[in-house]
Symmetry: D2
Amino acid sequence: MKFQPFFIALFTASLLFAQEHTHQSSRALEFPDIPGYVTLKTDLHQHTVFSDGNVWPNIRVMEALRDNLDVISLTEHIEYQPHKEDIPHPDRNRSYEIALQEAKDHDLLLVHGSEITRQAPIGHNNAIFIKDANQLLVNDAEDSFAEAKKQGAFVFWNHPAWYAQSPKGNPVLSDFQKERISSGELHGIEVINTGDYSEESLALALENNLTIMGTSDIHGLIDWDYVEKGHTRPITLVFAKERSKESLKEALFAGRTVAVFNSLLVGKEENLVPLLNASVQFEKAKYINNTSILEVTLKNVTSSDLIFENQMSYTFYSSSPVFTIPAEGTKTLQIKTLEKKDDLQIKLKALGAYIAPKEHPVITWNIALKDQE
Amino acid sequence: MKFQPFFIALFTASLLFAQEHTHQSSRALEFPDIPGYVTLKTDLHQHTVFSDGNVWPNIRVMEALRDNLDVISLTEHIEYQPHKEDIPHPDRNRSYEIALQEAKDHDLLLVHGSEITRQAPIGHNNAIFIKDANQLLVNDAEDSFAEAKKQGAFVFWNHPAWYAQSPKGNPVLSDFQKERISSGELHGIEVINTGDYSEESLALALENNLTIMGTSDIHGLIDWDYVEKGHTRPITLVFAKERSKESLKEALFAGRTVAVFNSLLVGKEENLVPLLNASVQFEKAKYINNTSILEVTLKNVTSSDLIFENQMSYTFYSSSPVFTIPAEGTKTLQIKTLEKKDDLQIKLKALGAYIAPKEHPVITWNIALKDQE
Amino acid sequence: MKFQPFFIALFTASLLFAQEHTHQSSRALEFPDIPGYVTLKTDLHQHTVFSDGNVWPNIRVMEALRDNLDVISLTEHIEYQPHKEDIPHPDRNRSYEIALQEAKDHDLLLVHGSEITRQAPIGHNNAIFIKDANQLLVNDAEDSFAEAKKQGAFVFWNHPAWYAQSPKGNPVLSDFQKERISSGELHGIEVINTGDYSEESLALALENNLTIMGTSDIHGLIDWDYVEKGHTRPITLVFAKERSKESLKEALFAGRTVAVFNSLLVGKEENLVPLLNASVQFEKAKYINNTSILEVTLKNVTSSDLIFENQMSYTFYSSSPVFTIPAEGTKTLQIKTLEKKDDLQIKLKALGAYIAPKEHPVITWNIALKDQE
Amino acid sequence: MKFQPFFIALFTASLLFAQEHTHQSSRALEFPDIPGYVTLKTDLHQHTVFSDGNVWPNIRVMEALRDNLDVISLTEHIEYQPHKEDIPHPDRNRSYEIALQEAKDHDLLLVHGSEITRQAPIGHNNAIFIKDANQLLVNDAEDSFAEAKKQGAFVFWNHPAWYAQSPKGNPVLSDFQKERISSGELHGIEVINTGDYSEESLALALENNLTIMGTSDIHGLIDWDYVEKGHTRPITLVFAKERSKESLKEALFAGRTVAVFNSLLVGKEENLVPLLNASVQFEKAKYINNTSILEVTLKNVTSSDLIFENQMSYTFYSSSPVFTIPAEGTKTLQIKTLEKKDDLQIKLKALGAYIAPKEHPVITWNIALKDQE
């Protein structure tokens, strides 16, 4: 019995009435490049039916395209295979290979990865940029990490504060992690996983110079877990020399990342400050009539609401000192500069951003006013 | 290597932040019972990774619960298995069995089904209420239909007007269908599939006394193909003696159905008229002051917008004769009855409903006014 | 005591924070020109504090600009002056003069008008294009109409079906109206007033060749009475030779109007048919692949939802025969033309439009297909 | 010529179609009472056609009812009468009297007030709780203030930072204000006017023990200046012993107020802290499973979004330390208390609130946990 290519048309039927006025609210993630680097939007921790997820790998590609991501990795639990009865395939690279088929016609980078899964204190760890997932499927976690290193993988500790493995939610490094770090086998740590931002994980990242990661850890649908709740999926922004897998890998090892979830941005100061600097553009600066009140429009070029607090000595006309520039929107400030000035240093604390536990960065922008009146 | 039950907790993490104010717009489908019958909301044509769909069967159960369906059937192509390399399981009942696990804790009926798939003129056909899908996997379509009959199945012809199999979109019965009907092996026909309502299929249903069906034929995600476009998934309303699989089957064989897609309702007159009658409730009828203008509120108890045109000799105050009662909303009419009356026959043509190609039903309601002023 | 021009700045303060992301939903009314005429959007029945309205005349000008009207008239009751104690000015032209000050910097035509107000059967009547409202303030209604004629006014009967003056809501012409018509003193009739469309008034308009009018009759705020309820204000579209008061007047006397309220359009056939013809544009017509199914996008260039029913022998793929093209939106149809054609006559009944009581116009468009595949 | 009461029905026509599904977004302002006081929502600075506003006084009453205010005052400029030609009435109490007619059937308190208007440095000042506005209309501002005091008025300085009178936006007290304060003739100061929050005015309020005020200073329509821009009108919350004009007056003289504009709340510490304490309710506190992670829902019972930053040593699971509880919405926190506790002191900094320039209050709530698990 042979089935002809008329099956190929099966999917197109459902697209026929797709052209009308759609009700889809925009969910495209947007972040600017920073000086010297392109900003890659990545979600490097995801699951499909090939471990304990609920969708075929092609759906993960489609979700990523809708979210305007640059890079994804499908990180199946290689040891935990609840669908084994129906998907007995011994090759742990299948999820990656199938996703590759879907991604090949799109502008999306796919990084080969796997999740190495143990109980606490080893916990869950993602190895990405691997060559063969099957080689990681060994009894001792130590051997698995060693093999990942051999393949050149970048490895990060997943959700250290996950309450199922850390009932107090305050993770510390065990000997296992200390050894992996010192032997160059553990390079990053999730500071945001699902919806959880862990200040303790951030402290561990800073103390041990681990790369700061944010991931969705999606098992079901991005739409159900994030979009319909008004959330954007957690991601890691990676500042790479160019848009390629090689550059991405270099940037991850170099620690050039910011984790993002909705309006929360977490990163090392040297990464987060240039990102916020590039995230706000100043437009239409001019003094109001015969006053020394400067009107200037701040444009937020990201898909995150940005919350600021005035740190200048100058006060505002017509705005609270604490204000939000909505995602891809604008906020017009009237700043009482007391005299007409030729240039001005705008200074704002970013209340939605953290460079260390409980520590917000203060961002400054110098704007020229001479020709703008 | 053994993995402990701490994996069970994996999914709960993603639920942690789920309790907040969600942005999910209501998508629950609602239709009233009609005299003598309960109204079952069904989608009896769906696919998963076990044929050419993109999700694990549990997602179909979750979608159905969100849509407030009473019954679903997963109707995998038994012959067309594009994921065979990864899902080689020879048992064509697996999709049903896995969905059963997910559905067992919920108030959702699951009907065992399969799609028998051939080129035109045989086309695609769903057999539901089967016992063993494997027995249907035979070379000759005739044998497959005979086996379905042997198992007691209800069988319907899928998307006869699908342009891949009917390039002019005007299907006719082939000898194959004529024989199946006369031998009691074909009982229904899809009049709505995906977003397509086919007047030609409706004509075939009426001429051959086939049961009128509407289905989503979903392969991807209900959210992407319907919800985010502002559509509700196509369904078949079945008027059953009680809420059980047995009653559902009896009702399908008896032809007591209405196919629904958004504000479009298609059914035989004897089914559609009582449905529309029950779909509108009349409230707060009273005459305005010293006038003979009757004010009455029409409440639409369905999840479909209902479009009507006045068929009474009496005209309206403050409304066009063509008006919509929004889904689960109200519309207040002021009817100029010329004198104060004790009762009134409201008579409206349902412009979104069809009892035959190009033929709208006219619905009447008798309302008592005596005690209401 | 003298107050300096610093008061002028008073209003600007409230505009300071106006530049931000506003939440204002679009309310601009849009309708296309028709062959040979420009389409003027008018609301020729309005009130201010100078009779029984609640706002200063400048608000009426601002409302009109927000609604994108071309012409308004403030038609104060010259006899009914409930604010007389505070506004004792004997000159009935003040409302017009004050509005003129506000309108002079904007692209809005202001027509001088007044309402001549009596009990039934004379009722309420608007005289517009008057020169001096004071001359109309005389005891006998007959004299008032005669004076209006002397001034060259266009006069229309307001809300004949208003239940306060017509408790059954079924107005007929009294001797007064018959005499006014025969003596050339009554030229139009409101078929839509506030939210009320009166089929009886439409019949009177057609039987007596009166110009069909639709007006808001606003006393309070357009925002409260219409916008926040999801309505657009009732207007009269006037098809004038050019955009001037003279041309408007000529067109009103010639009866070239369509009354509009939301998706309801009422007019004489010779006016309504060309309007609907111009209201829908056909785009991107092409046959789907190897089928004889023509896909074509209908663009609604008006601010009213347009509801149609298919009147062709050809049926649709993927759409109910009854469908809505949303205001300033599109609807894509797939038409089963049975063979590939070089041109096609599209034929649709406009269910939201009336050319006579209970009579919808059928609109045809000829589209060329030869070069478009 | 006499016009009969059939005119009374004129307004009801426009209400006929009002009962349908309205699109009005909720704009009712809500704030809780605080221990010992009822919280009165007031807007004590407004204009109508009786000075330089654009609406009849009844509109101001209707706006207040829509906004759920408890108290308003119409504070016409007694000296500045741009509509004098049409409204020559010499009695400056007319605006109040007319509004009283509209308010008398509603649960809205109306306070008699007037604006005393001069150039800088005297500026604009509102006297409320006056008896006769005419007596304030005298040449010397000093005499006007003396008369206001004689009538028992509460007087506040309007928009000191208004750039038309303070081009640098940094007001200081002139000798005039110093004398008025020392002679008990000036009691309050606007810290929020229209959309402008002035930190300088707040400093003046605190240094001179003036009552903190927030007002809309509306001239046009609340809908256009605030609602359609997504703003709520600025108001003053007054904490009164009971809901009466006498209690309101006592509270204003005693300085028990908080000024509110959108999510900005400004007040003296002794007023703002109890308000914020009452504004958040804690619900459903319980520990998650076998963890020491406390889940608790914070309910915001106000119509302002409330922005907080965690000030506890305990960190959060699944939330940024900076978070918003949406107006009349909830936010669920998971607090890592490290051990299961019987009670907990929640401690949050209110980032949208100011008790002094640049100084946020820190709010604490003690919640019992013993019985709640």
